[in-house]
């Protein structure tokens, strides 16, 4: 199935593009999508995950523009045509 991945700010610097088209097996979860991206883009893994392999808690994961407000965002199943976005908020002033 075809899925679009979007990212912003410092993550975009690592992936090289703000929007990436991907072909994933049906029923794939957000975990699998991010795993594939981390393998393809060195430097993304340490930005996304902490030492225990958990997604860093301040990072927002969005499915079709809406926040995946789940305790286990990585287990969210992706559907054909979904746009999955990862947004690292900034904190300076």
């Amino acid at each position: 199935m075809k899925v679009t991945f979007r990212t912003f700010a410092t993550f975009r610097e690592v992936t090289g593009a703000g929007e990436i088209e991907m072909i994933l097996p049906p029923g794939e979860k957000i975990r699998g999508l991010l795993e594939e991206l981390c393998n393809a883009h060195p430097g993304l893994r340490e930005r996304l995950f902490d030492a225990a392999g958990q997604i860093k808690p301040h990072i927002l994961i969005l499915k079709n523009g809406r926040s995946v407000a789940s305790l286990q965002p990585l287990d969210t199943v992706i559907d054909e045509g979904d746009v999955i976005a990862v947004f690292p908020p900034v904190a300076g002033g």
Binding site: A9, G92, G93
Partner: protein, 242 residues
């Protein structure tokens, strides 16, 4: 009532929102939390626009490393309190408004007194713990809160209207890790200007506020995006509102 002097000064805004809009700005009291990279931009535009009472809070002293971005602080201000520096510049820009600049650190204890009488809180802080305090105060008082943050060439902003859209805690339940953040002044200019425009829109009742959306600025890519976000029914700060 708008005076003849105000008629002239704000003529280009009166073209947009009428005398009624200008009167609303004049009657408004806005709390600007911070007088740094974002706060100097926000307070400059709000003072120029004729917001009747600006209350600006900051605890810091101007350092030379601030001067690349904090546009109301100049070389001669190094060593002065930021509040004294902004008050002087803003009073010279617009003597028709009231500027209350208070040198203090925003805490749980003084937050209520600082927000007393304000219609709107604008975020110009550099850390999330204080932003959460501003957010909760705005939610408790039912007044809007405009959030902005920057790093490098990147920034984000959103407008919280308590009970109607998500609050800051709904969107960002966990603070990004603290750091000495890299920054160019132009990024503060972009995000601070959007925050000021949001404030003017809300106060004059124009346009669509950035409610339920996070505006994301990527200055490196030359790109702006917005993402749709929703309230968290279990939010510890606003979950109790209808």
């Amino acid at each position: 009532m708008i005076t003849d002097e105000e008629q002239k000064r704000y003529a280009r805004q009166i073209l947009l929102s009428g005398e009624e809009g200008q009167e609303r700005l004049k009657a408004a009291s806005v709390l600007v939390a911070g007088a740094g990279g974002l706060g100097t931009v926000i307070s400059l535009y709000l003072a120029a626009a004729g917001v009747g009472r600006l209350r600006i809070i900051d605890c810091d002293i101007v350092e030379s490393s601030n001067l690349n971005r904090q546009i109301l602080h100049w070389s001669r201000d190094v060593g002065r309190p930021k509040t004294a520096s902004v008050k002087e510049k803003l009073a010279a820009l617009n003597p028709l408004i009231r500027i209350e600049a208070e040198q203090s650190r925003i805490t749980e204890e003084n937050m209520g007194a600082l927000a007393q009488g304000c219609n709107l809180i604008v975020d110009a802080m550099d850390n999330f713990p204080t932003r959460y305090l501003l957010n909760r105060t705005a939610v408790d008082r039912g007044i809007p809160f405009i959030h902005g943050a920057v790093r490098g060439f990147f920034g984000q902003t959103t407008t919280v209207i308590p009970g109607k859209g998500p609050c800051l805690r709904c969107l960002f339940p966990v603070s990004p890790p603290p750091e000495v953040f890299p920054i160019v002044g132009a990024t503060c200019g972009v995000i601070g200007s959007i925050e000021a425009a949001e404030a003017i829109k809300l106060l004059t009742g124009q346009g669509e506020p950035l409610m339920g959306r996070i505006f994301i600025w990527d200055g490196l890519a030359g790109n702006a995006d917005s993402i749709i976000v929703e309230r968290n029914p279990a939010c510890p700060d606003c979950g109790n509102l209808p």
